[in-house]
C-alpha cells in the first residue's frame, strides 16, 4: 500500500487522510500512521504547491545550468553540490551522467540577475571548470502536472 499511497500523495499532497483511506480502501489510522512514518524517515521530504509562475505579471526567469566540475580528493561532487545548493536562487541540483556533471536549475527575477549569478557565484567556484546556461522559455509540464489548460472536448453528456 505504501507505493500506492506515495503515488497518490505525489499526484496531490492535499488529499485528506480520509480521502486517501477511501481511495485505498484502508482505514484512516493506518494511512495517518504510514504518512507519519514516511515523513519521519525522510521518505517524504516535504509538500509544495506546483506554481505556474508564468501566470504572474512579474514573471520570474528560470534557467537550467550545466556545470562541468573537477572534483578533488577532499572536495568531491557531493561537496560541490552542497555548496551550490545553498544559494536561495537554486531550485534543484542533480548529478548527471553524460556531457556535464551537475545540472542546476535557478530561478530569479530577471535575465540579468540569472546571468550575474552564474558569472559571479557559480563560475568563481574553484572546482567549476565551465558553465552553460539555458534559459527556460516555457514550461508545459512540471512535477507531473500539466501547465497548459485542459481540453476536455467530451461535452456534458453521452449515454
Amino acid at each position: 500500500m505504501n507505493i500506492k499511497l506515495l503515488k497518490l500523495l505525489g499526484k496531490n499532497a492535499r488529499y485528506s487522510v480520509a480521502e486517501l483511506a477511501t481511495m485505498l480502501g484502508a482505514d484512516e489510522k493506518t494511512v495517518k500512521d504510514q504518512i507519519f512514518e514516511m515523513e519521519k524517515s525522510g521518505l517524504i521530504r516535504g509538500y509544495k504547491a506546483v506554481i505556474d509562475w508564468e501566470k504572474l505579471d512579474s514573471a520570474a526567469v528560470s534557467a537550467l545550468i550545466e556545470l562541468k566540475v573537477s572534483p578533488q580528493a577532499d572536495y568531491g561532487f557531493e561537496e560541490i553540490a552542497k555548496r551550490v545548493m545553498m544559494y536561495p536562487e537554486v531550485e534543484s541540483v542533480y548529478l548527471m551522467s553524460g556531457g556535464y556533471d551537475l545540472c542546476v536549475t535557478v530561478r530569479s527575477k530577471t535575465f540579468q540577475q540569472v546571468a550575474m549569478f552564474v558569472a559571479k557565484e557559480l563560475s568563481t567556484i574553484d572546482a567549476v571548470v565551465s558553465t552553460a546556461t539555458h534559459f527556460i522559455l516555457r514550461r508545459y509540464k512540471e512535477l507531473d502536472v500539466i501547465l497548459t489548460d485542459g481540453d476536455d472536448d467530451r461535452g456534458n453528456f453521452s449515454l
Binding site: L8, N12, Y15, E19, T22, M23, L24, G25, D152, R154, G155, N156, F157, S158, L159
Partner: protein, 390 residues
C-alpha cells in the same frame, strides 16, 4: 411539397425520443458545467496504440480490409478472448470486426429478430437495445431489474419473461448505468433457465475489462453449454479509451456469425482500417494500459460512492463499468426534477435514471470518468444543493 409523414418509415417515426431529450438539449448548451454526465473515458488513447494507427497511415494502409476485418486482427481477438475469458473462437469465421460494439449489437439483433419475435431486455441498461429490436420488427420485453437484487436479473424474472415467441435475451453486464455485474454463479443460474430453450443470448460485454473488487469478469459463453447460444459483443472504446476509433467485435457460432457478417458486408463493408491496426496493438500490448486505468477508476469509484453515501444518497458499490447509480428518492423529487434543479442551481450535470428505462426512476447516473478533483467539486456542489432543498 412532400408530406414527410408519408415518406418516412412509420415504425421508426413511432419510436419516441425520450422525454429526457429536452433536458439534455438544455444541458448540452450550458457553459461551465461540472459534468458527471459522459459515458466515455477521460484518458487519451495510449500513445503506442495511436502510434500504430499513424504508422499504418504512413505505410499507406488506407484500403478496405476483408469484410470480417483483418485476419491478424481476428487472430489477436481470438487469442485475447481465450486468454482473458477462456473461450475459443475460430478467427476465420467466428469473429467479426465491427464499427464499435454498437454495430455488433445491431447486427446481432437484426440477424435474429423478425416480426413477432420477442427480445428480453433487462433495464436500466444502455439505450440501444429497445429501438433496434423495434426496427427489426420485434417486440421488446422489459425486465425491470431491482436495486435489492443489485440490478442483476434473476432466474425467476427471466422465466416469467419467456414466452414461445422469445427469440433473444440481452445480457448487458457489466451494466451501464447501474455498474452491476453478473458473477459466475449468477450466470449459471440464468444458464439453467435457458438450457431447454432455443433462446439466443446477446451478451454485451463492452465493459468486461472494467471490473473491481478482485473477481474478474465472466464471459457468458464460458458458462457450461452456453457457447452455442451466445453472441459475445465486446470492443475497444471503454477498455482502451478508444471511443472515437469505433472498434468493436462480435464472437459466436459460425452459423450466426455468417449472417451478421452478411448484414455487415452490405451495410458497412468493413470496419475502419486505421482503427483495426491500432486495435491490433491494443490487443497485443495493452494489458498494462488497462491495469493502469482500472486502478485509477477504482480510486475514483471509491471516492464517489463514499461521497454519495455521506451525502445521504444511498449508493451501492458498483462492481463494473464506470458509473455510480445513487438513489435520490429521499429528496422526494423525481430523477428528472432532481437533475434539472441541480443543473440550474449548481451547474452539475447528472443523467436521470429513467433515461435508461422506467426502472431507473429514483436513481441518477454519475460517471466517474473524471479526475478526482473534478469529482470532489461535483460532490461538494451536490452537497450544497441537498442542504438548500432541505
Amino acid at each position: 411539397m412532400i408530406d414527410y409523414n408519408k415518406v418516412l418509415n412509420q415504425s421508426f417515426v413511432d419510436i419516441k425520443p425520450s422525454g429526457i431529450r429536452k433536458f439534455f438539449d438544455i444541458a448540452e448548451q450550458m457553459k461551465d458545467v461540472i459534468s458527471l454526465g459522459v459515458g466515455e473515458p477521460d484518458f487519451p488513447t495510449p500513445w503506442h496504440i495511436r502510434s500504430e494507427g499513424i504508422r499504418s497511415l504512413e505505410k499507406g494502409k488506407t484500403r478496405y480490409t476483408s469484410n470480417h476485418g483483418l485476419l491478424t486482427m481476428r487472430e489477436e481477438i481470438s487469442k485475447f478472448v481465450d486468454r482473458k475469458y477462456g473461450v475459443k473462437y475460430d478467427p476465420v469465421d467466428e469473429i467479426l470486426v465491427t464499427v464499435g460494439g454498437s454495430e455488433a449489437i445491431d447486427g446481432a439483433i437484426r440477424a435474429l429478430v423478425g416480426p413477432g419475435d420477442e427480445v428480453i431486455i433487462p433495464q436500466p441498461s444502455y439505450v440501444c437495445y429497445e429501438p433496434i429490436t423495434i426496427l427489426a420488427g420485434g417486440t421488446p420485453v422489459i425486465i425491470e431489474t431491482k436495486a435489492e437484487n443489485e440490478f442483476k436479473i434473476t432466474p425467476e424474472e427471466l422465466r416469467a419473461a419467456i414466452s414461445p415467441r422469445t427469440k433473444a435475451l440481452i445480457l448487458p453486464y457489466p451494466c451501464n448505468p447501474t455498474g452491476a455485474v453478473m458473477r459466475k454463479s449468477d450466470l449459471e443460474a440464468i444458464a439453467q433457465v435457458l438450457k431447454e430453450t432455443n433462446i439466443i443470448v446477446i451478451s454485451d460485454e463492452i465493459y468486461a475489462e472494467l471490473t473491481f473488487g478482485g473477481e474478474k469478469h465472466t464471459c457468458f459463453a464460458a458458462i457450461d453449454g452456453m457457447r452455442e447460444r451466445t453472441i459475445v459483443v465486446n470492443g475497444f472504446s471503454k477498455a482502451y479509451s478508444m471511443t472515437g476509433w469505433r472498434m468493436g467485435y462480435a464472437c459466436g457460432p459460425r452459423e450466426i456469425l455468417n449472417q451478421i457478417t452478411k448484414i455487415h458486408q452490405f451495410a458497412i463493408m468493413c470496419a475502419p482500417t486505421t482503427s483495426q491496426y491500432a486495435a491490433i496493438e491494443a490487443l497485443k500490448n495493452g494489458d498494462e494500459d488497462i491495469a493502469r486505468m482500472v486502478e485509477e477508476y477504482d480510486m475514483r469509484r471509491r471516492i464517489i460512492v463514499d461521497g454519495f453515501n455521506k451525502l445521504g444518497l444511498t449508493c451501492r458499490e458498483p462492481l463494473g463499468a464506470f458509473y455510480a447509480f445513487p438513489c435520490i428518492s429521499s429528496t422526494g423529487m423525481t430523477s428528472e426534477e432532481f437533475c434539472e434543479k441541480l443543473l440550474y442551481s449548481k451547474s452539475v450535470a447528472l443523467v436521470p435514471g429513467p433515461a435508461f428505462g422506467k426502472g431507473g426512476e429514483g436513481f441518477v447516473r454519475a460517471s466517474y470518468c473524471y479526475s478526482i478533483d473534478h469529482i470532489k467539486t461535483a460532490l461538494e456542489r451536490i452537497g450544497e444543493f441537498l442542504k438548500e432543498i432541505g
